[in-house]
């Protein structure tokens, strides 16, 4: 589903975030990317929806070389990838419902279909009762669940999450990770950057470890 072939990324300021990374993530896999801060986790994730372009090497998503996506075609790619952020990235002047509906509005779905799907997504993350609430009135865990509902509402085949539990306490973190496992169980490819080794270890999925921009370990997980 996702392949990196000898990918390097050097930022304009000279910092080399990734160095010759080669990896492959299969369809329906759930993978954690870990490492110290500055090890290149975020950069690795950002290359997948073309938030960055690699300096050298190739990234392939669903067998398509991302170099082929011109600026104009990037939206097509991003609609097939659900993204979840550490800082949630919600619209604070819109209700929970409107936030979750945004990807479907962008897709141009009819109103009735939008309502149906948003309710289903909110139900899945347990926030159906709060659809008219505004994000500021919600707790951090709830806000992140709104973010997750928004990421999955258009049923993308890939979910990527950059430190999704970075701002949450351990109990909530585990709850959020369980949600990702649920989506993974129905066939969604999930890539999560996290430095919460404790939690990652307990979940037992494949773990990629980065250090100073190099892939230094690829643990296949308890079942792999």
């Amino acid at each position: 589903m996702i392949r990196f072939e000898n990918v390097s990324k050097r930022y304009p300021n000279g910092f080399e975030a990734l160095h010759g990374v080669t990896l492959s993530i299969g369809q329906g896999e759930m993978v954690f990317v870990t490492g110290h801060s500055g090890a290149g986790k975020s950069t690795l994730l950002r290359l997948i929806p073309l938030l960055e372009r690699p300096t050298s090497g190739q990234v392939l998503v669903a067998k398509t070389n991302l170099a082929r996506f011109t600026r104009r075609r990037i939206p097509q790619l991003r609609r097939r990838i659900g993204m979840i952020f550490q800082d949630f990235r919600l619209l604070y002047d819109r209700s929970v419902f409107d936030n979750v509906a945004l990807p479907l509005v962008i897709d141009g779905l009819p109103h009735a279909e939008i309502q149906r799907r948003v309710r289903a997504a909110l139900d899945k993350v347990g926030l159906l009762a709060k659809e008219q609430a505004y994000p500021v009135t919600l707790s951090g865990g709830e806000q992140q669940r709104v973010g997750i509902a928004r990421a999955v509402v258009s049923r993308p085949p890939i979910l990527i999450a950059d430190e999704p539990t970075g701002n949450l306490d351990p109990g909530l973190s585990e709850e959020i990770m369980r949600l990702f496992q649920d989506f993974n169980r129905v066939g969604v490819t999930v890539v999560i950057a996290s430095h919460d080794l404790d939690l990652i270890g307990r979940l037992g999925h494949r773990v990629l470890t980065l250090e100073k921009g190099r892939l230094i370990d690829d643990w296949p997980g308890r079942n792999g």
Binding site: L51, Q76, R89, L102, P103, I106, G108, L109, P110, R150
Partner: protein, 317 residues
């Protein structure tokens, strides 16, 4: 079966989605303007005044044109007849001239008719009554054929001057020509001003949209993250610009109409003094539609330019 039934319905779904998206953006943009009524009104007001000025001037000019049109119909040559020429002679002369190849029409104004007209028009009734006999000469008004060039008309006037019955031959063209030249000059001037004000409208809308666009940077970033196309991001701003333009045009129409109503009374009185039934014409439906169209187009252009300039500069980080 499923595939053949699925294609048109997908197309329809896509179309409905597109139309729905446009409707949403249209109404959404109006809603945003409504939620910040004062700034929106101020912007629309500036646009309204900028549109009202040239509209009002052009309207005034077209009214002057209508008024001058009453005297139009090409140049005329007035042939004043010697006092001692008898009525039969100048009546016959008018008929002769009518048959001339260069003359379209002649109108004979007898001294009696001239006096009657003068009496009605001037209010010198009492003074005229004191005169023993009619001091006014007979006049043959000659209308040259419309296809004649100015030099040919001049030549015709020269030929008429040669008539022994003619005391004075006057070509009544100069002042109409001057009026038309003056009006043409004014029209050009107004179009130049209108052009400048149109640029001002584009800049005002552009600047307003630019500020709005930049203040919604975070939202635009999120929409880009979720796969929103440039067209999707641009759409609500274009409609916002459209609303500004339409609102400004409506305001301009109100301003122009109000000015016309203020001026209509005095204008009519003035016209009545000159014995004319003239009244100030308004924008009319087509003028109103033009104004609305121009306002909308300028609004769209302004927001298009503003958004186009900044769309690429806002990228997710």
């Amino acid at each position: 079966m499923a595939a053949s039934a699925g294609r048109p319905s997908r197309l329809r779904l896509w179309l409905r989605g597109l139309l729905g998206g446009h409707a949403r953006a249209l109404v959404g943009a109006l809603g945003r303007l409504y939620r910040a009524p004062l700034p929106s009104l101020l912007t629309a007001g500036v646009i309204g005044i900028a549109l009202a000025l040239p509209t009002g001037f052009l309207l005034l000019l077209s009214n002057v044109g209508t008024l001058a049109g009453g005297w139009e119909g090409g140049p005329r040559i007035s042939v004043f007849i010697h006092k001692d020429i008898r009525a039969e002679r100048y009546t016959a002369l008018a008929d002769e001239l009518r048959r001339d190849g260069e003359i379209a029409e002649t109108t004979l104004i007898t001294p009696e008719q001239a006096l009657a007209e003068f009496r009605n028009g001037s209010g010198f009734d009492d003074a005229l009554a004191l005169l023993e006999d009619n001091p006014l000469p007979a006049v043959i008004v000659v209308q040259p054929r419309p296809e004649l060039a100015p030099e040919q008309i001049e030549a015709l006037a020269e030929r008429l001057r040669g008539l022994k019955e003619a005391e004075l031959v006057q070509l009544d063209r100069a002042w109409i020509q001057r009026l038309h030249t003056l009006m043409e000059l004014l029209r050009r001037g107004i179009w130049v001003v209108a052009g400048l004000l149109a640029v001002a409208v584009v800049l005002v809308v552009g600047n307003t949209i630019r500020l709005d666009f930049l203040s919604r940077r975070e939202e635009i970033v999120i929409v880009k993250l979720l796969g929103g196309t440039d067209a999707f991001i641009r759409r609500p701003f274009l409609y916002e610009g459209l609303w500004y333009g339409v609102g400004g045009a409506l305001l301009a129409a109100v301003l122009v109409e109000a000015a016309r109503l203020l001026l209509a009374g005095p204008a009519q009185e003035l016209a009545a003094l000159y014995g004319s039934g003239f009244s100030l014409g308004g924008l009319g439906l087509s003028g109103f539609c033009n104004l609305l169209f121009i306002g909308a187009a300028l609004g769209l252009l302004g927001s298009w330019l503003a958004v186009g300039r900044h769309l690429a500069s806002i990228e997710p980080r």
